[in-house]
Amino acid sequence: MNKKAIKEEQITISINGIKINGSPGQTILEVALENDIFIPHLCYDPRINIQGACRLCLVEIEGFREAVPSCITKISQGLKIKTDTDHIRNLIKLNLELIVSDHPLDCLTCESCGNCELQDLAYLYDIDQNRFRGEVHPKKVFEDNPFIIRDNEKCILCGRCVRICDNLIGANAIGYAGRGFDCEIIPAFEQSLKDTDCIFCGNCISTCPVGALQAKPYLKKARAWETKKIQTTCPYCGVGCQINLHVKNNKIVNITSDVGKNINKGSLCVKGKFGLDFVHDSKRLTSPLKKRDGKFEKISWTNAMGSISSKLKEIIKNHGPDSIGILSSAKCTNEENFLLSRFARATIGTNNIDHCARLCHASTITGLIPTFGSGAMTNSFEDIKDSDAVIVIGSNTTEAHPVISYELINQVIEHNLKLIVIDPRKIPLTKYAYIHLQQKPGTDIAVLLGLMNVIYENDLHDTEYIDKRTENFENFINSFKEYSPEKVEQLSGVIKDDLIEAAKVYGSAKTASIFYSMGITQHTCGTENVISVANLAMMGGNVGKKGGGVNPLRGQNNVQGACDLGALPNVYSGYQYVEDNEIREKFEKEWGKKLPPKKGLTVTEMIDGALSGKIKVLYIMGENPMLSDPDILHVAQGLKNLDLLVVQDIFITETGEFADFILPSACFAEKNGTFTNTDRRIQRVNKALNPPGEAMEDWKIICRLSEKLGYNMGYSSVSEIMDEIAKVTPIYAGINYKRLNASPLQWPCTGKDHPGTDILHAKNFARGKGRFMPVEFSLPAENPDKKYPYILTTGRILYHFHTRTMTGKSEFLNLIAPMALAHINEEDGRDLNIKDGEKIRLETRRGKIEAVAKVDGNIKKGVVFIPFHFAESPANKLTNPVLDPKAKIPEYKACAVSISKV
C-alpha cells in the first residue's frame, strides 16, 4: 500500500502454488486481488491506509505459526502463501458468524441486497445465522439530510466510512461514539450531517461493505440485478471521474463508481453522485422551437433545419461568412467540438469560433506557450503521490475539483505531503495546509516574485536544471530582485515569515508541483500570473518530472477537449494555426473545401461585433454567455441586436430566451463520444439512455444542418469522427475507439503504438528550452476607492456548476445550496452592521445585485466573494469586463464594490 513504492524491481511470491510477481511495498492482499485470487476482506479500501480490523483476510504463510491478516502483511521475496485451507476457512467462518449474529438479516428489503459484501461472504462460507444468535442491539437511524441515510443496526463497525471521511475527504463529519455493544458511528452530538462539515460526497456510501449507508435519492428505485450498468464520464468538472449509471426503464436509478479503479478510484463528489437528476427533468427540451411574436412554439426538425439554413444562406450571401459567429461548448464531446469547428470553417467559411475557455483559461495558453511551448496540465493526477510539496494557488480545489482535493488531503494526512495554499480566502484545503498565504486579490504576482526572490537568495534554485533545460535566466533575475519579503508583505498583505517559510518548503522539496485555477487566470494580468507560475516551477527544476509540474485545473468537463479540437478562432484541432499555409492546405484537402486564411473573433469580440452590427448571426451550441460572460447587460444588448440567434441546448437557458430557434440536444448520458479531462486524458462517454422526445445528439444536428447548407460531412458514427481527428491532429494521432474502450489515453499520443504521455516536457520542453520571462507586478484594473471601498472576487461553489443549467435542475443540490451567499469578513460585517443571513446589496460601476450575507472569518478583511452561478444574483452584472490584453480574458477576480444593507 506504500504509494511511493518504486516500481522497478519485482518480488516473486507464490499463492496456492502459483508464482506471482508484485512490487516492493505491496501487501499480500493487494497482490492477490490484482491477480484475481480471492481473499475475503471487509475493512480494506484501496483509497486509504490499512487498518487491519476485521481479521477476515487471513492467510497461512509457510514458516509462520499463526495465520496472518494479508492486508497488513507486505510481500517479500519467496513467500509461500496458502489462502483457502480448512484451518483458515474455519477461522474466517467463526469471524463471520460473530458479525452476522448481531446483524438484522433484513436482506429481503435491504437496498444493498445483491450488492453487499457481507451477504456474499455469508453465502460463500455457508453462515448459519442462528449459531450465535444473540441480542441484536437496537441502534439509531439518521436521515435528517437530503442525501445520506445511516442505519446503524446494519453497521458492522468496519470503520471504513470514518476513515474515508477523515483521511480522504478531510471532512471529519462522522466518528465513533459510545463503547462496547453501544458503540455506533454517528456525526458529533448526533446532529444532522447538515450541521457538520460533511460535503455530501457520498464516498462513505461507496466504501460501506453492507447496507448501513444508503443514497437517499436512489432508495427503492430498483434491485441491483434489474439494472443495466453503463460506465461513462461525469459531465461536470475537469477531473473526469468515471461514473456508473445504473439504468432501469430508460431512467437513471443509481450512480456509483468502481472503487479502486480509474482516475478517481471510485471517489466522487456531490455533483457526480447526486447531481445528475437534470437528465430526467421535465423542462428538458423535446422538440425544436421557433420564436414567433416573442413566444416559443414547437416546430418539426425538417422545418427548423429548412428555416435556419435558408436564413444562414441569405445572410452569408448579403454579409459574407464572417458576419457569422459560432460558440462551441466545453460541455459537448470532442467529436462535437471538432465537428463544429469543421462546420464553422468548411461549411460556413469563417474562423469565428470560440468557446468559454476564453473566460477561464485563455491566459493559461498565452502564458504557457511562450514559456513551455504547450498550454496544458504538465503532469498527471496520479503524480500527486510523488510530490513532496504542492502549492495550490487561486484554486478552491475542494469546491471546483473535489476529487483532486481528496488526493491532496489524503497525501497530507497519510503520506506527509507539505501543502502550501495561496488564496485570499480560508478555503477548506487550508485546514490541511502547512502554510496558508492569504494575499489580497490581484496581488499574486507580487507573492510569486517574492517566493522566487527568497528561493534565489537562499540558493534553493536548481542551477543544473536551469543551465541545461532553460534559457534567459540571467536576464530574468532582475525581475524579482526587488521583491523582498518586506515589500511583498506591503503589497499583498502576506506575512513575511510565512512567505519565507513557503519559499523554503517549495525550494527544498525534491519534487514539487503547482496547481492553479481561475484565481490565477481571471485577471487583467492573467497571462503574467501564469508566466510567473511557470517561472517559479522552472526555478525549482520541477517541470518534466514525476510529481512536479505546472498544473492548471480546467473548469468544465471538456474544456480541455474543446480547446484541443479547435473550437478556437486561431487554431484547428491540435493547436495547428489557421494562418499557417501548409496546415491550412492539409485541412482543405481533408475537408474538400477552401478555408478562410485569417484567424477569427473571440467570444468577447463576437459579442462586441453583435453590438456594432458586424456580427449578424450567433450559432451557439451548449453555452450560456448570458450568465457566464462579464457584464451581462452588454451581452443582452448584443444578442438582441442579432438577425439570427440559434441555440442548441438541453434546456431553455438565459441565452436561449433570446434565440430565434432552439434545437433540443441530447445530454451526456444520451450520447457516445469522448471528453478530455484536465490532465489531457481522453475518456469515453457512453450512451446509457435514449434522449427525450425528438432531442438529438449535437453532432447529428450539426451534420444535418451542414448537409442542408450543401456540404455533406458524411459521418455515420462518432468513432469515424475520432478517426478523422486522429488523421489530421498529430497530438491525437494514436487515438481510436478500440484503444479507448480498453483504457483512456493521455495526449500527445502520436501513433497507434504510442502509449500516450503522462508527463509533458520530460526530456525537452515542447518549445525546446523552457524560457524564463520577466513580468511586472501591476495592480488590478480597478481598485477600491471611497465610493467602492471593497474588493469583489467571484468563483464557484461545490454544489453548483457553471451557470446552473444542470445543477439548477437538481432538487437535491438546491436543497443544500438554494441561493447565492456573499461572503464577507466578520470585521467588515461589524463595521457595516451586517449580520450572517441578512440581505445585502452589492454595487459596482456596472450594476447592483442583492444577495444574502455570510459573515465569517474565512475571507480576508476588505474582500467580498460571491459565486457566479445564480441568475437571481448574477455576479457578472458586477464584474469588470476589462480584458487581459494578450489572452482577452476578463477580470472576474477583482473589482471595486460597495456593500450596503437592504
Binding site: 465513533y176 461514539a177 463503547r179 453501544d182 452530538f189 457538520t196
Partner: protein, 167 residues
C-alpha cells in the same frame, strides 16, 4: 440501552457565567494542543460537573480537533457526562424490597412531577433523578435518597412535598 432519544434533542442547560469562565480558563491552558483532549475534558468535568455540547464545541474549536472526536471521547468514558447533576440529586431505590413496597409508584410520581426520566436533570438544573439497586436498607423500604439525606418508608403522595421542602 433501549433508549433511542437523539442527543441533540436532549434539554440544553444554560451555563452559568462562572462556568463559562472556568471552561475558557481551562481550555486556554492547553490551546492548540491536540494531544490534551482527555486532560482538558477531565478538568472541565471535575470543575463544572458535566460536558454539554457547547463546551465540547469550544474544546474542539480551540484544540483544533474535529467535534466528532471530542464527542467520541466523551461518550467512551463513563467518567464523562453530558448531563449536569441537579442541585438536588434524587435516587430512588428499585431493589426488590423497595419495589414491592411502592418504589415504582414513587418513581412514576417523581417522573411525572419533574418531567424527566431517570438519568436526566430538569432544565433549571435543580433536580436530577437516578435509579438505585438495593441500598442494603430494605428494612426501611421504600427508600429514596436526596443528596446525602436518606428518606425512609416514603409515602408516594408526600414525596414531592418533601423534595420541594429542601429548596
Amino acid at each position: 440501552m433501549g433508549c433511542l432519544v437523539r442527543v441533540k434533542d436532549l434539554p440544553k442547560y444554560a451555563l452559568k457565567d462562572w462556568e463559562v469562565g472556568k471552561v475558557k480558563e481551562i481550555i486556554s491552558k492547553y490551546k492548540n494542543d491536540k494531544n490534551s483532549v482527555i486532560p482538558v475534558l477531565r478538568e472541565i468535568q471535575q470543575s463544572i460537573g458535566f460536558l454539554p455540547i457547547d463546551v465540547q464545541r469550544m474544546v474542539a474549536d480551540k484544540l483544533k480537533v474535529p467535534e466528532k472526536d471530542i464527542y467520541g471521547v466523551v461518550t467512551f468514558y463513563s467518567f464523562f457526562s453530558m448531563v449536569p447533576k441537579g442541585k438536588y440529586d434524587i435516587r430512588v431505590c428499585m431493589g426488590t424490597a423497595c419495589y414491592v413496597k411502592g418504589g415504582g409508584k414513587i418513581l412514576s410520581k417523581i417522573k411525572k412531577e419533574l418531567g424527566i426520566e431517570p438519568g436526566q436533570t430538569t432544565r433549571n438544573r435543580k433536580y436530577s433523578l437516578q435509579i438505585n439497586r438495593c441500598l442494603g436498607a430494605c428494612g426501611i423500604a421504600p427508600v429514596v435518597v436526596v443528596n446525602d439525606k436518606i428518606l425512609q418508608k416514603v409515602n408516594p403522595k408526600k414525596i414531592m412535598d418533601i423534595i420541594y421542602s429542601y429548596d
